[in-house]
């Protein structure tokens, strides 16, 4: 198997900017071509904002990291026009098993929400995910989109100014200077940008080490997520087995604190561990081995002057529950339309503050969830282990105890409760779609609801009258007129109306609900649109 991470995907080319007499000013520079930097770049370029991505490397992430991509990020990628590629390359899964010591204690089935286009999760290697994003960028470039990736461009210094940022970039042919109206730092958990600006990254550091092994095998394990607490082959620790595309399996073994990482990584030490887990007779090939430990940290503020932090650079969580890349993509989703409005003079710079408010709330929710899962999987005290084991023992016999078992809560999008952009609820509708929530999908006679929303403000009317469009302070909202009859499955009615006969929703470009009411009222929705764009 040729390893994709060994070949350059965006090789270094000299840019005319390197020969410019004075530093060239760009509207937006993005540092980091990881999942978050690439997604942000695609989103901005599709809105017409010229964007340059700088990466210190020229290829996808080395080795194995994210594998689980959740529904909301897939919906975001659908909006960007590359969700289907991800789903085609990935594999779906919905079933799982939980083991405690030497027995299987229960099975679960994450049934997909009926009527939603995308499943709860797909598994796809991060390197494939990144490659598909780069392919999307290449396709956009071919159509003349204002988007560029510069490989082997390492950002070495940053200067913050009142209305722009200056950066010093090192390349194989020497360094050059660039300026940006806005800088987006998507440079990962160790963010050099954060370090160069001297900004803290506080939180909890966990001492446990985990061995990640990706193995290729023709085994007939089903496409399920198997999680072990305290298994005989890894006593006192945890283990995870999960399928990836192309007969690759992810194995994650907890090793505990104080280990010799270099020693544990050697194949002669890894292989016996895997044989103990998979069985002596199972044939496999090691594709990748690494050892990681993790932390749950976030920056206090995600926006510093003209520098915006997104993804792991802004917040980091433990991998349990697959929230890293999944939440980073939602940062991209939140930030792009706001920056677009600011750069086109349709919203004040202060709109960017709401990116911090909303995504910090999401980061806190993710950190809370992943810290709780970590505590359950790796109990920190004798008593927390005793309570954990009591739950596992009960869960084998008693269904009521199963919701207490926490091997990672699957990533779902955050409902923004503290956001200044959200208007008070004026519809006695379902809580699922209260203002501040992401739009749940629904099947229509042709296609799905989310596919009709796109990346602009939408006035969704369900069995209600309204103008075809309205404009407020330069921002336009276009009507999407639907009826409960458009969806015979009644998902639309169940999710958006409940017992109400009609409803009108103002939906943001990131498909979050800004306001809703039982009927259209011009003053109400104009105020809501001003509020949603930071003008109230």
């Amino acid at each position: 198997m040729t390893k994709i991470f060994e070949s350059p995907l965006y090789a270094y080319h000299r840019s005319p900017d390197q020969d410019a007499a004075v530093p060239v000013r760009h509207p937006v520079l993005i540092i980091g071509a990881g999942p978050v930097g690439l997604t942000t770049a695609i989103d901005l370029a599709q809105l017409g904002v010229p964007v340059v991505v700088l990466d210190d490397n020229d290829r996808v992430v080395t080795g194995s990291r994210a594998i689980c991509f959740a529904k909301r990020p897939l919906e975001i990628l659908d909006r960007l026009g590359c969700g289907q590629q991800m789903v085609d390359h990935g594999i779906g899964w919905s079933r799982g098993k939980v083991f405690s010591r030497d027995r299987a204690i229960y099975d679960f089935n994450l049934t997909d929400t009926p009527g939603h286009k995308r499943p709860a999760f797909i598994n796809l290697q991060q390197y494939t995910f990144e490659r598909l994003l780069v392919e999307k960028i290449r396709a956009m470039q071919a159509e003349g989109a204002p988007i560029e990736i510069r490989g082997c461009n390492k950002v070495e210094a940053i200067g913050q100014h009142y209305d722009h940022v200056t950066i010093e970039v090192d390349t194989p042919e020497g360094s050059y200077t660039l300026e940006a109206d806005w800088l987006i730092a998507c440079d990962g958990a160790r963010s050099p940008t954060r370090r160069m600006l001297g900004i803290a990254f506080d939180g909890e550091v966990f001492e446990d080490n985990f061995l990640i092994a990706d193995v290729v095998m023709q085994a007939n394990f089903p496409t399920e997520r198997w999680f072990w607490f305290d298994p005989p082959f890894n006593p006192g620790q945890s283990a995870l087995l999960h399928k990836q595309p192309e007969n690759v399996w992810r194995i994650d073994l907890q090793l505990g604190p104080d280990i010799d990482k270099e020693r544990e990584k050697r194949p002669e030490n890894v292989i016996p561990r895997l044989k103990a887990m998979l069985g002596e007779h199972v044939e496999f090939k090691l594709e990748w081995v690494s050892i990681y430990s993790f932390q749950c940290c976030r920056m206090e503020r995600f926006v510093h002057g003209r520098t915006i932090f997104a993804g792991d650079a802004a917040h980091q969580v433990s991998p349990f529950g697959a929230r890293g890349a999944n939440s980073g993509l939602q940062d991209a989703d939140n930030l792009s339309w706001k920056l677009h409005l600011i750069l086109t003079g349709k919203a004040p710079n202060s709109l960017m503050e709401s990116y911090h408010t909303e995504r910090a709330e999401a980061a806190d929710e993710n950190i809370l969830n992943s810290t709780r899962a970590t505590e359950f999987i790796t109990p920190k005290s004798d008593m927390s282990r005793l309570l954990r084991d009591a739950v596992l023992d009960l869960a084998a016999d008693q269904e009521f105890a199963r919701p207490l078992v926490n091997s990672g809560r699957l990533s779902t999008p955050c409902t923004y409760r503290n956001s200044p952009l959200i208007s008070a609820d004026a519809l006695a509708g379902p809580a699922l779609t209260c203002p501040g929530s992401p739009c749940p999908d629904a099947p229509l006679s042709e296609g799905h609801l989310l596919d009709k929303l796109g990346n602009r403000f939408i006035l969704l009317t369900i069995d209600a009258e309204a103008p075809d469009a309205f404009e407020e302070c330069g921002v336009r909202a276009e009507r999407l007129a639907l009826s409960v009859r458009d969806d015979p499955s009644l998902t639309l009615k169940r999710q958006y109306l409940g017992d109400c006969p009609a409803g009108v929703y103002l939906i943001r470009p990131d498909q979050y609900i800004a306001a809703r009411r039982d009927s259209y009222d011009d003053r109400h929705f104009r105020a809501a649109l001003r509020r949603a764009t930071g003008k109230e």
């Binding site: 005793l386 309570l387 009591a390 009960l394 008693q398 105890a401 207490l404």
Partner: protein, 76 residues
């Protein structure tokens, strides 16, 4: 929608005497531990907490229960 009044009631933790037969319960609980090692007893107690907690269910009542138990220890 559930009746808001019954919801408040179910979230309220009973802290007035409520045992049908207090002596019998105490005896049954002690009896359940007979012959167990300390570790087995600790595990039994832990399982019992979860069985009872699930019966209560409501977060407010459970939080009151934890706070009540903690407070009694502090004044002991």
């Amino acid at each position: 929608m559930s009746d808001p009044l019954s919801k408040t009631l179910s979230e309220k933790l009973t802290l007035t005497p409520n045992f049908e037969d207090a002596d019998a319960f105490f005896a049954a609980l002690t009896q359940a531990h007979t012959g167990l090692t300390r570790a087995e007893s600790d595990a039994l107690n832990a399982r019992l907490i979860f069985v009872l907690a699930n019966h209560i269910g409501g977060s407010a009542a459970l939080n009151t229960a934890i706070a009540t138990a903690k407070a009694a220890h502090a004044t002991a």
